[in-house]
Amino acid sequence: MTKQNCIIVGAGHAAAQLVTSLRQQGWEGAISVMGDEYFLPYHRPPLSKDYLSGRKSIDDILIRPPAVYEKARVRFGLGLRVEAINRTDKTVLLDDGESISYQKLVLTTGSHVRKLPVPGTDLPGVFYLRAIRDVEQIKGFIGHGKKAVIIGGGYIGLETAAVLKQLGMHVTVLEAMDRVLQRVTTEEISAFYTRVHMEEGIEIVTNAAVSSIEGGKNVQKAVCGDDQEFAADLIIIGIGISPATELAEAAGLDIDDGILVNEFARTSDPDILAAGDCTKHYNPIYDRHVRLESVQNAVDQATIAAGTICGKPKPYNALPWFWSDQFDIKLQIAGLSTGFDQVVVRGDMANGRSFAAFYLQEGRILAVDAINKPKEFMMGKQLITAKVEVDQAKLTDEAVPMKELLS
């Protein structure tokens, strides 16, 4: 009998979790990971934080050191692309023409940055921020007193703005919508982050849709419409990501803004699984299909996929959570706020830098944005999954310990 082979396409957070979970749960066959970057799986969140600032090195952000993969007998194919999946032969075709057979295939292909469809994005000094190589190039354009323009006021854009400001640059954030973080959070939180960034000396310009980027040898400015120009020595574009589904789509798997998987991380082909940013899956806590862009989802769904492959299936039912670090602010988000009918704030949102916003639907907590409020985040997670009706008077009263809300 030929040896069983599990091929993992994509070498990010989900892959790093999968390989050890597969071994822990008893997979004895070969494990091969194919990645298009020349790095072992690394933590992506620090790219816009401690790795950009230089506080962490590549070794510091590797999810696991090489010795772990050696011990787990994992083979890596780095710097190569998988061109196609042949589901009839159960093989994958690599970009060098080689074809490898699998018994189980896991797609952990992650996501692609959304491209800004304007002229000038190919000028030197204009970057997206998604991978180590992006940050390495960006570092060559950072300089004390120089001007940075960030296109896109999402979490990546704001985190990057915070780091560049701390490195002594003049920073302007251009947001096309009428507030930052519009796609991902509420007006209250957008207003808070706008205030903080302005307090820190960052200029935020909303309703600023960039129409072109101009320059000569290097980038010189971002242009919005007819009259607004923003001088720049460095431009970073962070306008969101889209799931990397091409491979799955070409193979005829079911897709709907993400590779559709069931609660066991299986795609519409039982021998092909998927995990992480590239998937869309059913979440029982919110009773709907979701696509999540988060480490939590990559790690938890990969663990589920490993269980399914090893014949120990467990349904995926984790509570989504996210985090963002900017300046002295630790934001921890638990749950998904879509569908809330009320916002309850605990702490001083208007002046301070420590509060929690709870999003309620019919008196029950759907989600919490906790800003320098770890207790509210931790208890919030429990309150969301318990689905209890909360006492709002207690929730807004900081003198009442969070623990009392669950009793």
Binding site: I63, K71, D325, M378, K403
Partner: protein, 106 residues
């Protein structure tokens, strides 16, 4: 370098050597110790590296700082000896350390 013993909730023991300067969490991740998830990679943001320091070692390891303390206090299955293992730096003094892992990190 310190020898650290991780004891999973089901009793499975892992004894591993961890270099000074690394965290107790990293020691677990580097040695495939089940029961430490460490989603945030050591940023003290997730509490999925929760452990109980063995009573005999608790004083030597020391108390948690404010943010960590807040996270622990409101973690499920919190105990007086709870710590987040990403916040415990390994030193020679911790040679022989024993930590117990909770049933779940969620």
């Amino acid at each position: 370098m310190a020898l650290i013993k991780y004891i999973e909730h089901n009793g499975t023991e892992h004894e591993v050597h961890v270099e000074n300067g690394l965290s107790v969490m990293q020691g677990a991740v580097d040695n495939m110790v089940d029961g430490i998830v460490a989603e945030c990679g050591g940023a003290c943001s997730c509490a999925t590296c929760h452990c109980y320091v063995d009573e005999a070692w608790f004083d030597k390891v020391g108390a948690a700082k404010e943010v960590e303390q807040d996270m622990i206090e409101c973690a499920a299955e919190s105990k007086p000896t709870s710590r987040l293992s990403c916040q415990i730096k390994v030193t020679d003094e911790l040679d022989g350390l024993v930590v117990h892992l909770p049933e779940s990190q969620y």
